[in-house]
Subunit: 240 residues, 2 copies
Amino acid sequence: MIFKKFFDEESGKIIESSVMNAITIDCVIFGFDKGSLKVLLIEHAEGISKGKWALPGGWIKEEESIDHAAQRLLKELTGLSNIYLEQLKAFGEPDRFPLGRVITIGYYALIKIDDFDIKAGFTASDVKWYNIKDVPELIYDHNTILNYSLKHLRNRVKQAPIGFNLLPKKFTLLELMQLYEEILGIELDKSNFRRKILRMKLLQVLDEKQKDVSHRAAKLYRFDYDIYKKLTQKGFNFEV
Amino acid sequence: MIFKKFFDEESGKIIESSVMNAITIDCVIFGFDKGSLKVLLIEHAEGISKGKWALPGGWIKEEESIDHAAQRLLKELTGLSNIYLEQLKAFGEPDRFPLGRVITIGYYALIKIDDFDIKAGFTASDVKWYNIKDVPELIYDHNTILNYSLKHLRNRVKQAPIGFNLLPKKFTLLELMQLYEEILGIELDKSNFRRKILRMKLLQVLDEKQKDVSHRAAKLYRFDYDIYKKLTQKGFNFEV
DNA sequence: TCAAAAGTGTTTAGGATACACCCATGG
DNA sequence: CCATGGGTGTATCCTAAACACTTTTGA
């Protein structure tokens, strides 16, 4: 039986717990800020990868489900809970990890950057949001995992309105459009985008407008998850 | 180090090889025959699940990638190689396997039933194509895995022309339409389906017709993978 | 000559696309 | 009064969908 150290929230202490020894979880956490898609990376503080950047990840406890492990790790690493988190796939090349055979299960999350402060966990010396275009070389196969996630995100965002998880609760239509433009790498027509997105009836207009902008203030909208659930039940396509 | 028995093709003997001890692979193999979607199941010949039906699956060797393991297992179990095989996702509830903590990685394949004979492998006492609607209770969480695959297949089939993997090389448009109807559980309009599918330019008309049918013989078509590759490169949607 | 499926044609409604234009606001 | 983005309107083209119709062939 292998034991690893964890930070226990209830007691506030570092405890040891048994973990599965050939499987890890790695999380690709996407954010969106100032018109750019970003990913959360950590710098390893110890071990063979000390000083190198990596996707946040960790070990699966013996008694928890893998989904739970992903949620737990994300909470430990970012402070966030109850967010959009999805399994990507398992990565299992025999040589992906230099110290033995370890398969990792990739998860990805979309979060609202403004909702929380990031802070380096106890095996990380630093944690930073990287612009997708400026990601450095990462440890192991983490660049592969990231690229796969990105491809997956581009597909998923066209199937379901998951992009909203990257925006603040209240947003303008232009912000939403720019999010899609950034993720998909395409240009969209303002007028047509408005019509398309509003026709879907997924957005609620708020009785509120932008402030402190040096031009006509735009209406604010919010995404209505209940409406979305009703629409998905009878099959619903989200092409932009 | 844990060892398991394998059938070695080169020597024709049963050999022992080291495997990863907390991870398995399970395969959902879909087929299509006489208008019905089918799945390949095996009956366990030994162990705690003796006499029960299950998805074909097995252990991952220490030195092989998980994709390779899936391909190998599929070959051992069905005789088929080099076919459309995709990772689904990992299933990791802590209680999914009764004798310990084992995470399984699900794969699925679409194959042409007529292309090969199925035969029970050496830890299986029987192997059978089950109509999707008649699948019995399976071991562990295999029903969950199967249901997930089915949902996934229904989605995937709308994104990419993977359905062709289920049909014989030469097929009629009506057969193709019935395949989609069966998988998606919907009814399609013959005329509109023809137009839509032919406009995509994915099919090559053959200089051949159906034989031995008691009505007007239909033209035979085949799917052209090269054309498909060209089309996908510039983003290509496959809604039916 | 009938049944059954192959295959074609036509009409209509609604969405996609492109693009011109007016509106509101801060500087 | 101008720059900037917010927001609306419209003409054109294309496709989806519904459905009626003709053709071919074996029994």
